[in-house]
């Protein structure tokens, strides 16, 4: 009997802790949203920053972030999906030590701090390959950084395709690649889309690597040129909060910028989670 009261106390304590943590984080988000939403307007989203970041909108950081996200995905998706197809479908004819090394490398890359990717981007793309501080250098750097995310999620999607699909296709005389292209990839498509969305969302939120590969402190005119510097939402938040001539004056703009960034990132994560859970349920 004593044991059961003890259990009740423990379980309730666990419940309180779990709910408090979720409540704190959600509370912080709501606090930011409440302050950010009042700043948002069509004007804020479509006009460039003015007056040394202390006025105007955030159109150029938004465009910069979108451009970088797109370019990152263009570089990372083909490689990521290719690697995932290899790992899930083609490992039979290859020395298992190579497969093991590839997996080890992917796991390691997933754990490399983003600032170290920034150093690589600076050394390799900005200086060695002479792309300079630019959208191109930043996107290439982020494509390296998002690669492990995309590979892991795509491989999971491919592995979830039932064995019978492949065997049926092979039995009908299709070659291995025909099977992959016409049977496995289409069935894994929702999962692969999830992978791309996760990669996009990761690229949207990254900050440190951008600081080292081409983010500008203040560049109100979006050039659209991939060999030029750029503004991005994430770095804009950082610069306004830490290095603006008057951080308090820019506070409303900061809340607005964070709200826009959070809406972009969280909505993509939400879609990814929904697609994945729908897909898992369907397979069961």
């Amino acid at each position: 009997m004593n044991k059961l009261t003890n259990e009740k106390i423990m379980f309730n304590a666990f419940k309180v802790v779990a709910f408090t943590i979720v409540a704190i984080v959600l509370g912080l988000l709501l606090f930011i949203f409440a302050r950010g939403v009042s700043v948002l307007s069509l004007d804020f989203l479509t006009s460039p920053p003015e007056n040394g970041m202390m006025g105007g909108g955030i159109s150029s950081p938004i465009l910069g972030t979108l451009l970088i996200m797109c370019m990152t995905v263009v570089f990372a998706i083909p490689l990521g999906i290719g690697a995932a197809i290899f790992l899930s479908e083609y490992t039979d004819n290859v020395d298992p030590r190579i497969t093991r090394m590839v997996r080890l490398a992917i796991n390691n890359l997933a754990g490399v701090p983003s600032i170290v990717y920034g150093l690589l981007g600076l050394g390799l793309f900005v200086l060695f390959m002479n792309f300079g501080f630019s959208v191109l250098s930043a996107s290439l750097t982020l494509s390296f950084l998002t690669l492990p995310v995309i590979i892991a999620a795509s491989e999971e999607a491919l592995r979830n395709v039932p064995r019978g699909y492949r065997e049926a296709s092979l039995a009908l005389g299709a070659t291995k690649w025909e099977t992959v292209r016409n049977v496995v990839l289409p069935s894994a498509l929702p999962g692969i889309l999830t992978a791309c969305i996760l990669g996009l969302s990761r690229a949207a939120g990254e900050t440190a690597p951008l600081l080292m590969t081409g983010a500008a402190y203040y560049l109100p005119r979006f050039s659209g040129n991939i060999l030029r510097q750029f503004m991005a939402l994430s770095t804009h938040i950082f610069y306004m909060a830490t290095q603006s001539p008057n951080p308090d004056l820019t506070r409303p703009i900061q809340y607005g910028t964070i709200t826009v960034l959070l809406i972009i990132v969280l909505s993509m994560n939400l879609v990814a989670v929904l697609v994945r859970s729908y897909y898992r349920r369907k397979l069961r």
Binding site: L4, M10, A83, I115, V116, L119, P148
Partner: protein, 292 residues
């Protein structure tokens, strides 16, 4: 004939897979290439154990990494200290105690929270958390190691929760049922059977959380005040290895000693996270051996 025609495709897929190895190699080569010149001018011992990081001094710049390593250690230590018990409690709650329908909601919520960009957490620490901590502890520094540790612990919680939750759920049903059949309560079963059997998965969760904490840059940079002090006082301002690179790389002359020294810090960081990943890899393989 058909097989032969698929060779180029297989080659391309193989290449995509190898790219990960190439990137890892590139990281190592470029860090080494840019870090090594540091040691033409400073000995490795002076670099690793130098007590002063003062690169801007015109007459006598000093590049001792010790204060930065101490800063990282202090912040990460307290972050892990806070996040591990809280994370485990949440994981146990979601896996074993909560109504399954509630768990089905909480899991994706945590997954989504994991995607909040670190610069947003940094902003929270800088603008909201720091004032609260200063009021509560009456600290000299508004921005300090504890502020960084607190925000970092929130950031690594999703990693710790979701991976240890997976580990707890993976414990075979028979174990729990045997314990319950012997008259143990659910709580006793969790404490004496479920948690001990999932300990290797929980260890992986903690190590991955640790790895994330060590490499985290923006939040820590915005939260800790960035004074390279050697201290064990969590209420003092500190500077971490990640923060020093992010701040100073922007104003450094390329090819200077300062530039190379920042790459040397990056190399150190890479080696530390590589070691953490290695441990994780060992843990996972050992865990598989036991189960399978």
């Amino acid at each position: 004939m058909k097989r032969g025609s698929e060779r180029p495709i297989e080659g391309a897929l193989f290449f995509s897979a190898i790219v990960s190895i190439i990137i890892l190699g590139l990281i190592f080569i470029f860090l080494l290439r840019e870090a090594i010149p540091t040691f033409f001018e400073i000995s490795i011992i002076d670099f690793l154990f130098g007590r002063e990081w003062f690169p801007a001094s015109f007459k006598n710049p000093r590049f001792g990494a010790l204060p930065l390593m101490m800063g990282s250690f202090l912040v990460v230590f307290f972050a892990v200290l806070i996040a591990v018990p809280l994370g485990l409690i949440c994981a146990v709650y979601i896996a074993e105690i909560a109504d399954p329908r509630l768990s089905e909601i909480m899991k994706p919520v945590i997954e989504i929270l994991a995607g909040i960009p670190s610069v947003v957490y940094g902003f929270i620490a800088l603008v909201l958390l720091s004032g609260a901590i200063q009021n509560a502890f009456n600290t000299t520094y508004r921005l300090n190691a504890f502020n960084g540790a607190l925000i970092l612990s929130i950031m690594i919680l999703p990693t710790i929760i979701s991976i240890s939750e997976d580990a707890i759920v993976a414990v075979p049903r028979d174990y729990k049922e045997a314990s319950l059949a012997l008259g143990a309560t659910r709580w006793e079963t969790i404490r004496r059977v479920t948690l001990p059997s999932s300990k290797s998965g929980i260890a992986v969760a903690i190590m991955l959380g640790l790895g994330r904490a060590v490499g985290e840059t923006m939040a820590v940079l915005m939260a800790t005040g960035n004074s390279p002090l050697i201290t064990l006082n969590p209420l003092s301002s500190v500077q971490t290895m990640t923060a020093v690179i992010a701040i100073e790389m922007g104003e450094v002359v390329f090819g200077s000693l300062h530039y190379h020294a920042l790459f040397a810090i990056g190399l150190l960081l890479f080696i530390i996270t590589f070691a953490i990943n290695f441990v994780v890899d060992r843990l996972i393989h050992r865990g598989m051996g036991v189960r399978g």
